[in-house]
């Protein structure tokens, strides 16, 4: 009886704690959203109008279409989607090599893969910039996309850990049937690895979607900017329309929400894989 009662007060405490945390996290989002529907005059009114009347939904159309915010959205989507395809495919192939084949210095190399995962990229940023500049790749997406062809250490690690848990018998049966290594990778390994591939895709997508440093130094044409950088330079056409910037921020948040809903199914499964180590 006593234990049960103790548990109950504990649960109430946990509930209140989580509710408070969620409240604090949500307030800025709610404030942002309601403010985005206001005129400047409404925005600077004190006390705050939490439900704006009238609500200016037209702000959204204006920013997205008239101020061409959709261009940034498209750029981000293109960059992130291309990164996902390039990085996941190459990392998966490299991981296959590490997981299924014996060759000299394999373990030493894999340790180097893990080590590079923990090192900050800034140390090589400047030389890479100079390098890409000298071969005329500035102001194109090449510096952001071409390196993805060579796999990412984090993904190689993640995918390899998953591949070694897959039964070898299926591979061997396929070999006997006359399948080459590449066909085994594509037809046998890849279909079994769907959860880890989806999680990898999610990581690459997010990393590309959130990247600021790369686009900032490699791109100078504003119409080529992705969302994360375009938002920084987004200014309203008239000085008394500050709320339009808030609209831009909300628009930048929407794909995140869609992405979250789409990935829900795989997320719990996938993150468990991340911890197999």
């Amino acid at each position: 009886m006593r234990i049960k009662k103790g548990l109950k007060t504990g649960e109430v405490f946990v509930f209140l704690f989580l509710a408070l945390l969620s409240f604090v996290i949500l307030v800025p989002f709610v404030y942002l959203f309601t403010s985005s529907l206001k005129t400047n005059a409404q925005y600077f009114k004190i006390p705050i109008e939490w439900i704006p009347s009238p609500a200016l939904w037209s702000n959204y159309y204006y920013v997205f279409v008239d101020l061409k915010f959709y261009v940034y959205m498209w750029n981000s989507t293109f960059l992130a989607a291309s990164s996902v395809v390039l990085s996941v495919l190459s990392s998966s192939l490299i991981a296959y090599g590490f997981a299924r084949f014996r060759f000299p210095y394999r373990n030493a190399m894999f340790i180097v893969v893990i080590a590079t995962m923990m090192l900050p990229s800034q140390v090589s940023m400047i030389p890479l910039f100079i390098y890409f500049k000298s071969i005329g790749w500035l102001d194109s997406y090449k510096p952001l996309l071409v390196p993805q062809l060579f796999g990412s250490a984090y993904l190689i690690f993640l995918i390899r850990q998953f591949y070694i848990t897959l039964p070898r018998e299926v591979d061997e049966a396929a070999t006997i049937d006359g399948c080459g290594y590449l066909r085994i990778w594509w037809h046998v390994i890849m279909p079994q690895a769907k959860p880890v591939l989806v999680v990898s895709a999610l990581f690459v997508f997010l990393a590309s979607w959130k990247d600021v440093f790369g686009p900032l130094i490699y791109l100078s044409d504003r119409s080529a900017y992705p969302l994360a950088v375009g938002l920084l330079y987004f200014t309203s056409p008239t000085s008394n329309a500050y709320t339009l910037i808030l609209v831009a921020i909300v628009i930048a948040l929407i794909p995140t929400l869609l992405f979250f809903i789409l990935s829900q199914k795989y997320l719990n499964k996938g993150v468990n894989i991340a911890n197999l180590k």
């Binding site: 945390l21 060579f150 994360a228």
Partner: protein, 302 residues
């Protein structure tokens, strides 16, 4: 050709893209970066050998120390929040009860938000004077208004505070770790009469130490590279500043500023190497510490 030889060749062929990438985008740039620390170069003239003077310049610059202190405050502040609060929240979310799915979504969602968007969203919250949301809360409580972002020394804590909104990325990893624990451990503890709190630090914590270790190292490395939040919060960034009195300078921001505003590639490379060395040192310290505290770890992680 023997099957073993074939296997060897195929394996090397499959990992070769990584080897090429490692040489092209890892080893080679690092070597160039080491060379750059000894030259002055602004793209316009030929690189000029200057010996150690880039090091002297950077290490004597007060901005460098400000950036270093700010970066360390952000790194340790946010890592502490991720570690302590992250584990507690994850343990709370691990049990299913009223609303736990909703809480999970609310806590996880903001970690997907673009850094620049998050920082811009926080602009009105930490706004100066009576228009800031937080200041309005303070005046309701009868406390004086603060200049969160412009008061030197305060802005960096705003960035630490923002890590609450990125808590979800750690929580989701810890949550998976906790869910992976064999439930029989908890049942045994309950039969022995352990309370929820005792289960937390006698069962949960020891069993997820490897996950804590990995996530903390990744968090620290991420913290050391903080850039987009600082850049966005310093509204002067378009004109070349790093916040009022450089109060928002971080190491990566400083590197960016040296390389792409002052066109001083050599000094920027020195800062790059500093970030590299600090990451390496901190990772090593954590490994050492964890070996002392780790209770299960090794047997668990196969």
């Amino acid at each position: 050709m023997g099957i073993e030889r074939r296997e060897k060749l195929a394996g090397l062929l499959f990992v070769s893209p990584w080897m090429v990438g490692f040489l092209l985008f890892g080893i080679f740039p690092m070597a160039v970066s080491a060379y750059l620390t000894f030259v002055k170069w602004d793209f316009l003239r030929e690189p000029r050998w200057v010996g150690l003077s880039n090091y002297v310049e950077v290490f004597q610059s007060p901005i460098f120390y400000k950036a270093m202190v700010n970066t360390l405050i952000i790194t340790f502040g946010s890592s502490l929040i991720y570690l302590v609060l992250g584990v507690i929240v994850a343990a709370m979310l691990a049990k299913d009860y009223l609303g736990s799915n909703v809480f999970r979504a609310i806590i996880f969602l903001p970690s997907l938000v673009i850094g620049t968007a998050l920082a811009m969203m926080m602009g009105p919250v930490f706004g100066n004077g009576k228009y800031g949301l937080l200041n309005q809360v303070l005046s309701m409580l009868g406390m004086p208004n603060q200049s969160w972002l412009t008061e030197p020394g305060q802005a960096v804590w705003v960035i630490v505070g923002m890590s609450f909104w990125y808590l979800g990325s750690s929580v989701i990893i810890y949550l998976a770790g906790i869910k992976g624990i064999d439930p029989s451990y908890f049942e045994a503890a309950m039969i022995d009469g352990a309370t929820g709190l005792q289960q937390f630090y006698k069962v949960t914590i020891p069993l997820i130490t490897p996950v804590l270790l990995f996530q903390t190292i990744m968090g620290i490395i991420g913290g050391l590279q903080v850039f987009d939040l600082a850049l966005t919060l310093s509204s002067e960034f378009k004109t070349g500043g790093m916040g009022n009195d450089n109060s928002l300078a971080t190491l990566v921001f400083y590197l960016y500023s040296l390389a792409f505003r002052d066109y001083d590639m050599g000094s920027a490379a020195v800062v790059g190497w500093t970030i590299f060395i600090i990451s390496l040192l901190l990772s090593m310290v954590i490994f050492r510490l964890s070996r002392r505290f780790q209770l299960f770890g090794e047997e668990e992680s196969k």
